[in-house]
Symmetry: C2
Subunit: 346 residues, 2 copies
């Protein structure tokens, strides 16, 4: 198979007998009307017959824009980020952009490498779901004045574009809902972490308890044993133990808010094996839909994150930013409480 050189503007120009400039204008529909009909047609025909394909690399070098955006997530194979990836792709395509992705595992070194790679490739902007300790990376982006938007997570001390769930509100309305349904001893199973978006969930929980006159201080709760926090890299056994402790506290909880679906998945399986009745013995609410619990006797009430909208919004904010919209845009998405059997009225 002889590999023929790819046809270029020059080849078309030669074939038709015009300059490459003219070919470029015609193929890009520029200077419409100011170019002879016949030549234009000839050029188009030649392009077609040569099977011409614009070399976007060459164009990028000249125009200083690649129409490419980079997507950095902890793990593209995680359903949450895979969902984001899809909606980012769709919105990007709609505007002629392509997206390159990379997974960081929340690891600062991997993140740095990935970002370097993407910037060397001259992406026009970045959509990032940052892990812990990514502040330095974000700062360096700001110094380079490279357009970017954070998604799902952000750093409150680093003003930047972001699109994230209003996690505070989400947890707040979850507690509110439990209270309205008659639950009074509401436990929290969450993470011990510096990640702001997760701590917002705790803050929402605490504030709601306070507003509803259930509890007033963190330490008061600790004493009661209603707040359990495991490490992000937890083992299943830790979660099970936490559930047990919530149940066996001085004043046992009558309901639990899980701050992630991973926690809920492990927790519910444990509750299932203990043959507890949900919601009679224990009401449950969690963040995100949890497919693995589809067949649980009492489908879980959960806080839905509008994945598709988040990806779309993030992409729009980024494209705006690329087009030199200099204001910082911060979008706090509304959570939606999907009420199911696990929080039936007491």
């Amino acid at each position: 198979m002889s590999v023929v050189k790819k046809p270029s503007l020059k080849d078309i120009a030669a074939k038709v007998g015009v300059s490459t400039a003219l070919v470029s204008y015609v193929l890009n529909n520029q200077k419409q009307g100011r170019i002879g009909q016949e030549v234009a047609q000839k050029i188009r025909d030649a392009a077609l017959s040569l099977n011409y394909r614009t070399n976007l690399i060459a164009r990028s070098l000249k125009t200083n824009s690649t129409l490419t955006i980079g997507l950095m997530v902890p793990d593209i194979s995680h359903p949450f980020f895979a969902g984001i990836a899809r909606s980012v792709e769709d919105e990007a395509n709609r505007h002629g952009y392509t997206v390159c992705y990379g997974s960081t595992d929340g690891n600062p070194l991997r993140s740095r490498h990935l970002m370097d790679m993407l910037l060397n490739r001259q992406v026009d902007g970045l959509i990032i779901a940052p892990g812990e300790h990514a502040e330095m990376l974000i700062k360096s982006l700001q110094e380079q004045a490279l357009p970017f938007v954070l998604v799902d997570r952000y750093y409150p001390d680093l003003p930047s574009n972001y699109v994230a769930l209003d996690n505070y509100k989400a947890a707040y309305i979850a507690v509110q809902h439990l209270v309205e349904r008659g639950y009074k001893r509401i436990g929290l199973l969450g993470y011990e972490t510096p990640l702001h978006h997760l701590n917002e969930r705790k803050r929402g929980y605490l504030t709601a308890l306070k507003d509803y006159k259930i509890a007033f201080t963190n330490s008061w709760l600790k004493e009661k044993g209603w707040v359990k926090e495991v490490s992000i890299a937890n083992k299943k056994i830790e979660i099970e133990r936490a559930v047990d402790e919530l149940r066996l506290a001085r004043e046992p909880v009558d309901s639990i808010l899980f701050t992630s679906n991973r926690l809920a998945a492990a927790g519910v399986k444990h509750i299932h094996s203990l043959r507890l009745n949900v919601p009679e013995d224990l009401a449950l609410v969690c963040f995100d839909e949890t497919e693995s619990l589809d067949l649980f006797q009492a489908p879980l009430t959960y806080l839905r994150q509008p994945l598709a909208e988040m990806g779309q919004q993030a992409t729009r904010v980024l494209l705006d930013s690329i087009r030199k919209n200099n204001k910082i845009i911060q979008v706090n998405m509304e959570p939606e409480l999907v009420i199911r059997k696990s929080t039936l009225k007491k």
Copy 2:
């Protein structure tokens, strides 16, 4: 914020007082030892202090290689393809490649657009999970001599690189396993489709039945009502009806092989609501792990597809092909039967 022009080789050269050629050699570690130590160091220092970043777009234009590969899948948000995406990424990174993805929804037009985009961007190669009617696309790639590898699916009439599960074997060992466990009336719930990889599953099923002297012909099976096929874009109700028909056939089946986890998910939920006992009333096997069935009374025996290995292999085959390894490589992955409660001995 004044946007400063990005530093180029020229800027470094000017600062140090040498030619851009020399800067290029030093930064790329070429001509090692033939370059003065002091100049080399000066150049590196200058690059650092200017915060230099190689413009890969310019390099690509010159070297005619972008170190980028394109990944085309039906839907990046589907767990199967998200998993592939992750392992492709990891293997690609290991070799200095970046990956751009796109979802086709199995739609020929979208596929064509996506491929055009990726080729215009001069990707060095393509990893494709093709949908129905993608033969034309594949052919055009071959004509252009663009390196590519199919993953998960392939066209038997179009010899090309591919990495896929040995679907024939997978279905075969599933039936074998059921027979060994004492099941004799084995039903199939599959798809009505031209997709070769899905039909291979049916072929494996049929051949196994024949080898084990259970059935000899397709029409014989049809008569018995042991083979049910629904359309790919099926409704839940179709699947439920198919399950009912298998159960109420002239000779009711004592076991079912689902050829996908989507079918299994809907089927099992139906079986669950019918309060049938698994495996006593009905043994079940399906393709792929099905998270949503985690809490089902009898966890399903399933055929595991080695996702990570498939993505990795596909990437290796592609990189080989990019490096002008001209032979066609076809990898048929071994399925693994994960035995769980749903096929306990009769």
